[in-house]
């Protein structure tokens, strides 16, 4: 066999291998279900992670399987029809994966270094930043997320909100640094309709190291 045909064959082998898609799985929480008490109850954490997040992942896997079939059949209409489900469930998986790491049982963390400096510079003070993020996130109608994101083009931090599970980067181009889930399932069992109380309390369990890490690689 010639060198060229050997290379061609190995190339085909690699291409076929990439069509075998991996299935997404539920990531482990970095802490136990009761670790964020009293800010977020064990009951909420368990449901949120093992039911809601798990469901997004299952549905994402199903949608991507259907997508693969449509691609193989050249069914463009089918591909288009799947986009909503991929955004819902893919967004749900992305968002929650970030969220679990954005939170930490260590209630003594504070923003430091470059992140602290830039938050103070761009929002006036840490309190101003927290107040603005709380206000914008409280004001979300229905289900959604409040985000601190990094705008690469303008080189500054921004607070934005997204509806439902719309993933921040795909929707706005901003790099997600800190997300706060305000779907009612994130707080209702504990805080009922008092979303503002949940938002005031959650600042005590933010993992600022994680946020800084995301910022430095943004």
């Amino acid at each position: 066999m010639s060198m060229l045909s050997m290379i061609r064959r190995s190339f085909c082998f690699v291409s076929k291998a990439t069509l075998v898609r991996k299935k997404y799985t539920l990531p482990q929480l970095p802490y136990s279900y009761d670790a964020l008490e009293p800010v977020i109850s064990k009951e909420i954490m368990e449901l949120h992670h093992s039911k809601h997040h798990a469901t997004y992942i299952n549905n994402l896997n199903v949608s991507l399987e259907s997508l693969k079939e449509c691609q193989e059949k050249g069914d463009i209409s089918g591909i288009a029809a799947l986009q909503k489900a991929i955004v819902f469930n893919g967004g749900g998986h992305i968002n929650h994966s970030i969220f679990w790491n954005n939170l930490s049982p260590d209630g003594n963390m504070k923003p430091k270094g470059v992140l602290l400096h830039d938050l103070q510079e761009q929002f006036g003070s840490l309190d101003n930043f927290r107040n603005e993020m709380t206000a914008k996130t409280t004001g979300i109608q229905g289900s959604g997320w409040g985000w601190l994101g990094y705008n690469r083009k303008r080189k500054h931090l921004e607070i934005v909100t997204c509806a439902n599970q719309d993933p921040l980067q795909a929707t706005t181009g901003l790099v997600p640094l800190l997300g706060i889930d305000v779907w009612e399932h994130a707080y209702y069992l504990q805080y009922k309709n008092a979303r503002i109380d949940y938002l005031k309390a959650i600042w005590d369990v933010i993992n600022w190291e994680d946020v800084s890490t995301r910022y430095s690689s943004a």
């Binding site: 039911k51 469901t55 109608q141 229905g142 289900s143 599970q165 779907w183 009612e184 209702y188 309709n193």
Partner: protein
């Protein structure tokens, strides 16, 4: 009463006096709808009240739990009421000559694209929340006399969807697949005097089908706050419990409410035309 009103509306040869009588009858017809809940929707209010639930907070047990009804009504519905009133007050103060600001909330929602931008989203959210929940409470009852609609409503559902069970399946499927917060509706198209066809539709957040030229007949709230305390993430369990408290009598009464509202508007227009004609 309804056929009489239809005949009167279609006749163009009535004098002023006769038409005034017709208008009074039509207004009485649509304000006679059972219960205090709809009183607030019958006309424009300076300040809308939160209507009481048509039953006690434990009245829908074991299908819809007491704790949920309490928070849902006294927490969520009350907040929508207060914020809607605040938005209306502000709008009316700033635009005292804008007729729409002083119209009934139902009419404002029907013409929501004409609300100035500053108050439009607040009224979509809070005016919608106010009206949507009134309909939700009113179309449930502790001991429905029938698990299915009867009379002309049943006939129309069968003609539109094939059968009641097909309708129920489709409605349930919409409820199961609605993403995020919103509602599932059975509506009637608001065309003309007889009404248009029946349709199952969904709206996100607190958006009202009134803004899409539809008259809502039956609604299922699938915001998580409607079921999470009891059912957690298992929305389908909530949906199957909800079917057990759907009050088809009230759905029928609501259908008649929209029909007579439409009629009274037509009669009002005719009255206005005659007035104009007699003045020139």
């Amino acid at each position: 009463l309804y056929p009489l009103l239809q005949c009167l509306a279609m006749s163009s040869s009535l004098g002023l006096a006769e038409l005034s009588v017709c208008c009074i009858i039509a207004v009485l017809a649509h304000t006679s709808l059972a219960g205090k809940a709809y009183d607030q929707l019958a006309g424009a209010q300076k300040k809308y009240n939160l209507p009481d639930l048509p039953y006690a907070y434990d009245g829908l047990e074991p299908h819809v739990d007491t704790a949920t009804l309490r928070v849902h009504h006294l927490g969520h519905h009350k907040a929508y009421t207060n914020k809607m009133n605040a938005a209306l007050e502000e709008w009316r103060a700033q635009e005292p000559h804008n007729e729409l600001a002083f119209a009934p909330i139902v009419e404002i929602l029907e013409q929501v694209s004409r609300v100035p931008r500053q108050w439009r989203q607040p009224l979509i959210n809070n005016g919608g929340g106010y009206v949507n929940h009134i309909i939700y409470w009113s179309t449930m009852c502790p001991a429905p006399s029938s698990a299915t609609p009867t009379g002309s409503l049943l006939v129309d559902i069968e003609n539109t969807f094939g059968s009641f069970s097909v309708f129920r399946e489709r409605f349930t499927e919409e409820a199961g697949t609605l993403f995020g917060s919103g509602y599932v509706w059975l509506c009637e198209e608001a065309e003309g005097e007889g009404g248009g066809g029946l349709v199952i539709t969904t709206t996100p957040n607190q958006d009202s089908p009134l803004s899409q030229g539809l008259h809502p007949l039956l609604v299922l709230d699938v915001w998580e706050h409607a079921y999470y305390l009891k059912h957690k993430n298992l929305r389908p369990n909530y949906v199957s419990e909800w079917w057990k408290v759907v009050c088809w009598e009230e759905v029928d009464a609501l259908r008649k409410f929209w029909k007579s509202l439409t009629l009274s508007r037509i009669l009002n227009e005719k009255l206005f035309e005659i007035k104009k004609h007699t003045q020139t």
